[in-house]
């Protein structure tokens, strides 16, 4: 049925992707499968893993800090929609044809993205400093007593604030290009039909950029659920575990307490949660994402 030529092509096709497949196999599939086994064993890195069934998962279910860390990670990911909203607003403003210094503003908002996460975190540590941080100093000038930004209740909102600031650049760029790509003709047609700016925004702009919105949402949520470095530097999970994200907790168990089995079990649990969130995103997307 299939021609000889076709079969030959298929052969060469596979031959060309073989190195990549091999790499995936060695560096992804093998670690993945072994992590399944490790998650069911007790493993201190030095000695062979000792199989102990589902004990790690049992401990996991009973571990209040693990659950707190999941809640924290979900809480932290609230920053994603918030950041998207801000990015969209700024993109809409910059998208006005008569705006001056568009490039400058674009650069300004993109700047945090290219800065080292460590440097940015240290800067925020100063900005938010309780006693002489920038924010509280400004508040002081206005005769307002600034709060302690790293108290148990405010630590996470502070982290979200920082995350929104740092993550806005990329969303902004994506939104700007998406806005640019919405065909002008729709707006003209809508204008002829008597649609106002609001109506145009909700009926043309929003659906028009919905694939990009979806992309930012999915990648943003995944990134937020895996967020780690800045928490480690900024708060090290405190106070009282208010900012212990799941990955930070995994890291501590793996590298501070050499409890790889438990860390892998948590890794899998988090993986499942991320997968569920993402699949839910995809399912919901059928209702609000419009591809041309």
């Amino acid at each position: 049925m299939k021609s000889k030529l076709y079969r030959k092509d298929v052969f060469w096709g596979y031959a060309f992707i073989a190195p990549l497949l091999l790499g995936l196999l060695v560096f992804l599939l093998v670690p993945l499968l072994s992590s399944v086994y490790i998650s069911m064993s007790s493993y201190d890195l030095a000695n062979k893993p000792v199989f102990k069934g589902l004990a790690n998962f049992e401990q996991l279910v009973k571990d209040p800090i693990f659950w707190k860390s999941i809640v924290n990670s979900l809480y932290a990911s609230l920053g994603v929609p918030l950041g998207m909203l801000l990015a969209l607003i700024v993109a809409l403003m910059l998208n006005k044809p008569d705006i001056r210094g568009k490039g400058f503003f674009r650069m300004l908002f993109f700047m945090p993205t290219i800065c080292s996460a460590v440097a940015v975190t240290f800067m925020w540590k100063w900005v938010l400093n309780d006693d002489f941080g920038l924010i509280n100093q400004v508040l002081k000038m206005m005769k307002i007593k600034g709060p302690n930004w790293f108290s148990e209740s405010l630590a996470m909102p502070s982290m979200i604030m920082m995350g929104v600031w740092g993550g806005m650049g990329i969303s902004l760029l994506l939104y700007l290009s998406a806005l640019y790509n919405v065909p002008r003709v729709y707006y003209e047609a809508a204008k002829v039909d008597g649609a106002g700016p609001l109506r145009q925004f909700f009926s043309i702009t929003l659906p028009g950029i919905s694939p990009v919105t979806f992309y930012i949402l999915v990648t943003g949520l995944i990134g937020a659920l895996q967020d780690f470095t800045r928490f480690q530097i900024m708060t090290d999970g405190g106070p009282n575990y208010a900012t212990t994200t799941t990955v930070l907790y995994i890291y501590n168990n793996a590298f501070q307490y050499a409890d790889m089995g438990y860390a892998c079990a948590m890794g899998w649990a988090l993986g499942v949660i991320i997968a569920v969130v993402t699949i839910a995103n995809f399912v919901m997307s059928r209702r609000w994402v419009y591809y041309d």
Binding site: A46, P64, N129, I233, G238, Y257, A258, W268
Partner: protein, 493 residues
């Protein structure tokens, strides 16, 4: 679409798995003394000063390989006489280039004295623990590796460290009686408990803790300097800090505090409080009145007397800055801070940390890093020689001369190289005095220290004034006990 989803999910799982491995490091929970650089320029000429007091100690002047330099014993037992080998050493880098310089100096002297051993030193710039854990997993640990004392328990339990007990006890180079016991006890392990049993590592340094105080602020407020030799009692210290705390701009908020933050471990221990039960299997602070009052004392400094800032969750950076900018008159800290404090534009000195009256010597904990021999090393004899050399009077003397270490040896405590008269702190002797009595940190109590990290987090509620010490300590007891059990299950079998 379906396929896209499943591929996506798979990729996510992978990404998650790797996010653990690739993440950046968090520093050792405790920064030990390694970062100490005083002044590398201190080259003080005399080589005869230090080690000469101890028996069987080679003085620092014995630099050539001739073997005639030993002050007392023969050199026969000290030298490595085996075949020519190359051993690997791995070390972290907490003090920038200084670390490299110090290691190079000690190693090159060691190589001169042991011509058959060549040392290949590797300095790890970041993520030392992660790097070593990876090496442990792949069985490629260097012959000699640095062990921060906070990681000793985790690693010794896995069996990556060679039992060097008989070598240490028969050593002709070391003089254990002359080393502060708390410096070497923390590298012992008997299969169940740390602090007793066999040697699995030897200390490279010791980092005791003192209270630094801003002399200018004391003078300005007319407050007498604390005693250089005797620790103040806790009520005395409170009274002193109250005199120093000031609201300078009249906004109702304190601007200059007496102290940044007392370290709770020392307050509890010096007050005679008990943290774990005798068998280390359960957490007892919740039912121990002395512990409760000690914790409440610190909380009151913050929330009741306002002599210490609240919510300082930013850790040492914030505290250091407060001290640097004259916003706090006192700060409790490791000796490692001496170098950076010397750059501050005010006069300061150190004194013993205020303490409870039961065990005033345990007014804080000291940090340390040590060296261990990899249990599967091909050259254990040569590797041990190097470990021993770092802890020997001679090796120590090189590091003390560089201004890097608090001497491990009591007999070196009065070494002018260490005391550096004319430089701050004038009361440098307070550190060696503290080294003699301060125990290791609480991670010493159990190999898996997750319970301790948890306790530290839980206490934030007390520092924030949300709960009193008693309520908090009692309510967290079950979860701390669970963490002790989960992390150290071998104790309960």
């Amino acid at each position: 679409m379906k396929r896209v989803q499943s591929v996506f999910a798979l990729v996510l799982v992978f990404a998650m798995m790797f996010s653990v491995a690739s993440c950046s490091k968090r520093g050792a929970i405790v920064q030990t003394t390694s970062e100490e650089l005083l002044d590398s320029g201190s080259s003080a000429a005399s080589g005869t000063a230090a080690g000469s007091g101890a028996a069987a100690v080679k003085t620092a002047s014995g630099q050539k390989t001739g073997g005639t330099s030993g002050a007392a014993g023969t050199t026969g037992g000290n030298k490595y006489t085996g075949p020519k080998v190359t051993i690997k050493l791995i070390h972290w880098n907490q003090a920038g280039q200084v670390e490299q310089m110090v290691i190079d100096q000690v190693v090159s002297q060691f190589e001169k004295e042991n011509p058959n051993i060549q040392v290949n030193a590797q300095i790890v710039n970041t993520d030392y623990e992660v790097k070593l854990n990876t090496m442990i997993a792949s069985g490629t640990v260097p012959d000699v590796f640095l062990v921060p004392d906070g990681d000793f328990g985790t690693w010794v339990k896995t069996g990556v460290m060679l039992d060097i007990d008989s070598r240490v006890r028969s050593s002709k180079v070391l003089n254990l009686n002359d080393i502060y016991p708390s410096a070497w006890e923390r590298y012992q392990w008997n299969g169940k408990t740390m602090g007793v049993g066999h040697f699995y590592a030897l200390p490279k340094d010791i980092g005791p803790v003192c209270m630094y105080y801003n002399k200018d602020l004391f003078k300005k407020e007319g407050v007498a300097f604390p005693s250089a030799t005797t620790a103040m009692t806790l009520p005395q210290a409170l009274a002193m800090w109250q005199k120093l705390s000031k609201d300078t701009d009249g906004d109702g908020k304190i601007d200059v505090y007496g102290i940044t933050r007392m370290w709770w471990e020392g307050v509890v221990l010096s007050s005679g409080g008990q943290i774990l039960s005798g068998d280390h299997k359960s957490f007892v602070m919740g039912s121990d009145q002395k512990s409760i009052s000690a914790i409440q004392y610190i909380a009151d400094l913050i929330n009741k007397y306002h002599v210490a800032p609240d919510g300082t969750t930013l850790g040492s950076m914030n505290e250091d800055t407060m001290f640097a900018s004259g916003r706090a008159a006192c700060i409790e800290n490791l000796r490692a801070s001496v170098t950076s404090y010397r750059q501050y534009g005010f006069n300061w000195d150190v004194c013993p940390v205020p303490a409870g009256t039961v065990n005033p010597g345990e007014n804080s904990w000291s940090g340390s890093v040590g060296y261990a021999v990899y249990s599967k090393s091909q050259h254990p004899d040569a590797a041990y020689k190097l470990v021993e050399y770092f802890a020997s009077p001679e090796g120590q003397n090189i590091m003390v001369k560089l201004g890097f270490n608090v001497p491990l040896y009591k007999s070196q405590a009065s070494s002018p190289d260490y005391l550096q008269s004319g430089k701050e702190p004038a009361n440098a002797a307070a550190f060696t005095k503290a080294a003699a009595t301060q125990p290791a940190g609480l991670w010493q109590l159990l190999p898996n220290r997750s319970w301790y990290d948890m306790l530290d987090q839980d206490l934030d509620q007390v520092w924030e004034g949300k709960e009193d010490a008693k309520t908090c300590l009692q309510s967290i007891t079950p979860s701390i006990n669970a963490a002790i059990r989960n992390g150290n299950s071998y104790l309960f079998q």
